[in-house]
């Protein structure tokens, strides 16, 4: 037994020694001008706007690169989200893939040297000219992996932003007009409450609660706050406006019945289907719902920007990245370039997506056009404020927990701000060292 134990220990030690050495990956990129395959991964569903647009882009790519095989695979979001680092640190990864934008994802991988610097290509092919500055924020990352400045590591194709979807039929039936200011918004919601209808759909178990809180906070915020909160320019005070206003107003909306008290355990899917079913007059959520509402919803509906806000939660969509281990880099650049062409961009727009470089006048459906024009309005006025859970890794769950407590009334706004302040401070300290 003694001997056996020693052997086990020795083998285990040897094995770990090799594994820890293996931890440092990377490697030089080889010359890939002769690459004959392009391994391409993304995780958009086939009939979504991006799925349709990118399918077309693959066809164009094939036509322009005869003899090159495109090996496309649709991946599980969860798999990429959780394992991207492991995947592209191996030789089994793709040559080009869709990846989540932000510090904790693309930023982290870029800071570890796992993503290819695209700056030269961006200059050469004029990508910078096609994307507005607030869209470029999520394409560029500093040495430490903080977004907003530095080299290009990703290229967005589409945008997204939080807006208000409303059920026209319910509005008409209850004599409510589309609000243009916050005062009109609350008045409209009072009318619904008076008729026994909960005006605002909510899903406490997922992102919608945090996004509503952020929208409310943004109504009292300026770009400086966004830079502080998202890019750590200055410390953020959770006990003061705009965050305090956001939490207080959120609690008030729950108290007044604008938001249902029993929505704490609902998922975004539940909120969306309730809206489609015509049970909720309004939801405050992202443009990612648009395509689905368009195909599935029978009642009349439309969107309007969150009243009174110049800053809105939103950003570029996910980005194309080229792993450092990619064996077909120049093919990957060609593909990215194709996805930014007007043809593909218009296709994304005409399928209910929000293209980043499309001519809105080329979009045929007026409702689609409005979605895109609204986005362009926000984007051009530097109004994209990103999302509340972005600043630190793991903040999503912190926000969900916090706002669940606000919805079911187990905590006061001050207590909630208190619980979400510490993980934020800890996380920022991890990143900036301050």
């Amino acid at each position: 037994m003694q001997r056996f134990r020693r052997i086990v220990a020795a083998i285990a030690l040897a094995a770990t020694a090799t594994t820890t050495v293996a931890a440092c990956g990377g490697g030089e990129s080889e010359d890939d001008t002769g690459a004959k395959t392009l391994k391409l991964w993304h995780y958009e569903s086939e009939n979504s706007a991006m799925g349709v647009g990118w399918n077309r882009a693959i066809e164009i790519f094939k036509a322009e690169h005869p003899g090159v095989e495109v090996r496309f695979e649709r991946k599980a979001f969860e798999q990429i989200q959780q394992n991207a680092g492991m995947i592209i640190n191996s030789s089994e990864g793709p040559d080009i893939m869709e990846y989540n934008k932000g510090n904790a994802t693309a930023g982290l991988l870029s800071s570890q040297g796992l993503l290819t610097d695209l700056s030269a290509e961006a200059d050469k092919r004029g990508w910078a000219g096609k994307l507005s500055p607030s869209l470029q924020t999520t394409a560029r990352y500093s040495d430490k992996g903080v977004m907003g400045s530095g080299k290009w590591f990703g290229v967005p194709n589409y945008g997204e932003y939080v807006t208000v979807y409303y059920n026209k039929d319910l509005f008409e039936r209850n004599g409510v007009k589309v609000p243009t200011s916050m005062a009109e918004m609350t008045a409209a919601m009072d009318t619904f409450v008076g008729k026994g209808v909960t005006p605002l759909g909510m899903a406490g178990a997922e992102y919608p609660a945090g996004q509503l809180f952020y929208q409310l906070a943004l109504s009292k915020a300026d770009r400086q706050f966004v830079d502080n909160y998202q890019l750590y320019k200055n410390p953020v005070d959770f006990t003061a406006d705009p965050l305090k206003y956001g939490a207080d107003t959120f609690a008030e909306w729950v108290r007044k019945g604008y938001v249902a008290k029993n929505s704490a355990s609902l998922k975004a899917e539940d909120m969306g289907t309730a809206f489609i079913a015509g049970k909720t007059p309004m939801i405050v959520s992202g443009s990612w719902w648009y395509g689905r509402f368009k195909t599935e919803m029978k009642a009349n509906w439309d969107t309007f920007l969150f009243p009174g806000n110049t800053l809105n939660a939103g950003s570029s969509g996910n980005i194309w990245v080229v792993p450092e281990n990619s064996k077909a880099k120049s093919l990957a650049y060609d593909f990215i370039d194709i996805t930014l062409r007007p043809e593909i961009q218009d296709l994304i727009g005409n399928n209910g997506g929000v293209p980043v470089a499309a001519d809105a006048s080329k979009i045929s459906d007026p409702k689609d056009r409005k979605l895109i024009e609204d986005f362009n309005t926000v984007s051009k006025s530097d109004g994209l404020a990103f999302y509340p859970d972005w600043p630190v890794p793991g903040y999503y769950d912190v926000l969900v927990g916090g706002f669940q407590a606000l919805i079911n009334g187990s905590k006061s706004p001050d207590q909630v701000l208190d619980t979400i302040a510490k993980p934020y401070a800890d996380g920022v300290k991890e990143i900036t060292g301050k």
Partner: protein, 291 residues
Amino acid sequence: MAVTLTPVPVRRPVPDRHHRGVSRWVVLVLVTLGALVMLVPFAFMLLNAFKSPGDYSSGGPLSWPTEFYSKGLRTYWTEVNFPLKLWNSALIAGSVAVLGVVVSLLNAYALGIGRVRGRLWIVGLFLLANMLPQEALIYPLYYVAKEVGLYNTRLAVIIIFTVIQSAFGTYLLASVLGTFPRSLLEAAALDGAGKWTVLWRVVFPNLRPTLAVLLIFFFIWTWNEFLIPLVMLIDNQTQTIPVALASLQGDRLMDAPTTNAGALISLVPAILFFLIFQRTLARGITAGAEK
């Protein structure tokens, strides 16, 4: 000699005088009700698997479908290339079941029959494989697999789960073999049989019912594993059914009817497997050590 080589014969119902009383009917009704409650969630799956997305969105998961919608099923079948995933899952779960049983048997033979020194500690050590939370293993396993060139191969997953499942198998079989009749072994030894022969000619046939139960458990447990296959199998060519199911759930949107349809057909092979082998289960997990 009490060790049976054949399954326990099915017992004839006790003569009629035992049938008196309504209490047995009460018991039957109660247990059946319990079983029906167990099945309620499956009924919901069935209800939603054949609903169109619009139907699902407007009526919710509890409504009766207005049309029989089979496109979800077809989409799932073709979009995730279900036959391939089925093959991957069957290959992995099947190999793990067989290899896990073999490794368990070899371990248990040394521990239960061979009674090697310190076996209590060895069983405890092996059980560690069962006790470790899987998320703790992921990063180191990734590096080991990458180092030996098994990252993104089905073989890696097969090896990992062979070890994890055989921990339970070793524990159980070592217990069972502790009671193995010495007289049988001695008789074989007198005939000049070596250890290897004894294992396959004497121990194995007697343990067969127990091994069959282990086989079923290993298969079903491995079939449903998610986290490690998600990490280890990144290629669509190598993925298993649960990972394919997860690919229907997007970043912010999910396709509930397709997920349901997918879940439903993904369930079928495992249920079939269980039903086919459920008679084996009846033979008893420690049948080899009877009396």
